[in-house]
């Protein structure tokens, strides 16, 4: 077992912070579009 070589062998996961913010903005825009559609349709 070669501890020195492998001690920091980490499996990183997740996105960068900036990417996550843009992802949330995208999801928010999509959610808002569908929400407006819903409210308009049920009030027709």
């Amino acid at each position: 077992m070669d501890n020195e070589n492998y001690r920091n062998n980490q499996f990183e996961s997740g996105e960068s912070k900036a990417k996550a913010v843009w992802r949330n903005i995208g999801i928010g825009a999509l959610a808002l579009f569908v929400a407006v559609l819903t409210v308009v349709v049920i009030n027709l």
């Binding site: 501890n3 949330n24 928010g28 999509l30």
Partner: protein, 276 residues
């Protein structure tokens, strides 16, 4: 009434009074928040296809209902069906989210009183845990130990056998000795006590970032750290390699110094901050 007339009526209603504008804006906000969390949850669980189908069905449904004389309230059936599908398909993931929120509150209550530890006792616990891990590593005995701050959900504790014993390497090694009833589950350690053993942990769903050669024990060890703020110490049955999982990440080939550092951090930082 055609679609043009319907939209014209809606616009007249929308611009009619402040109350209507406020009511419609609040409705939009409520639906937007609901859809936001629903879409984000689906994307987090690699279900982008379901999001596309959801948006398309909402657009298509809007078209059909606008052009026909159907009751427009029927439109709400589409998001309702989606919510039911989400609850049925992702019950495990939803349960984890609920656990994660519950655990924060549990930890706050549990450690509200606060108490400090005898340094000698903590050093003894640390050396006993390390000794047990290294002995099990030498003999290729599979093991999984979860270091919690008292934030483990009762469902997980109840899935095993409650022990409530002082930490000793002999007890840890006995529990994980092959062919004993509790060896296949996880041992939960809180403070200076072994709380339970033989517990079932949720498996990690992160298939992309965990190597295929890591088995169910490692996935369980990582899985519990994805949703709850705990540290898992895992000994591989195949290779004897000791791994440390924290916040959904695994660090393999832990040696004495790494284990000591992790356990020191657990006892002197994480438990202390949980008590505050």
């Amino acid at each position: 009434m055609n679609i043009g007339d319907k939209l014209s009526d809606f616009w007249t209603k929308f611009t009619g009074s402040a109350e209507v504008i406020i009511a419609l804006s609040v409705s939009v906000l409520v639906f937007a928040v609901l859809y936001f969390y629903m879409i984000r949850f689906l994307l987090d669980n690699k279900s982008g296809g379901l999001v596309v189908i959801f948006v398309l069905s909402m657009v298509l449904g809007a078209g059909i209902i606008s052009l026909s004389n159907m009751d427009s309230a029927i439109y709400l059936v589409i998001p309702a069906i989606y919510l039911v599908i989400l609850i049925v398909l992702y019950s495990v993931e939803l349960k984890r989210i609920i656990w994660a929120h519950m655990n924060m509150k549990l930890a706050d209550v549990k450690h509200a009183g606060g108490r400090s530890y005898d340094e000698e006792k903590v050093e003894n616990c640390i050396s006993e845990i390390i000794k047990a891990l290294q002995n099990m590593s030498k003999s290729d005995t599979g093991a999984i130990i979860v270091l919690s701050t008292g934030n483990i959900p009762s469902q997980i504790i109840d899935s095993g056998v409650k022990i409530d014993a002082d930490i000793s390497s002999a007890l840890i090694e006995s529990v994980f000795f092959p062919k004993t009833p509790l060896h296949d589950g996880a041992m939960i350690i809180t403070d200076t006590k072994i709380v339970a053993a033989g517990c079932f942990l949720p498996l990690s769903q992160n298939v992309d970032n965990i190597p295929k050669d890591l088995g169910t024990r490692h996935r369980a060890g990582i899985g519990i750290t994805e949703t709850i703020d705990v540290v898992s110490l895992i000994v591989s049955e195949e290779t004897g390699i000791i791994s440390i999982a924290r916040a959904g990440k695994i660090s393999r080939y832990a040696d004495f110094a790494t284990l000591k550092k992790t356990l020191n951090k657990y006892y002197w930082q994480e438990l202390e901050s949980a008590r505050k």
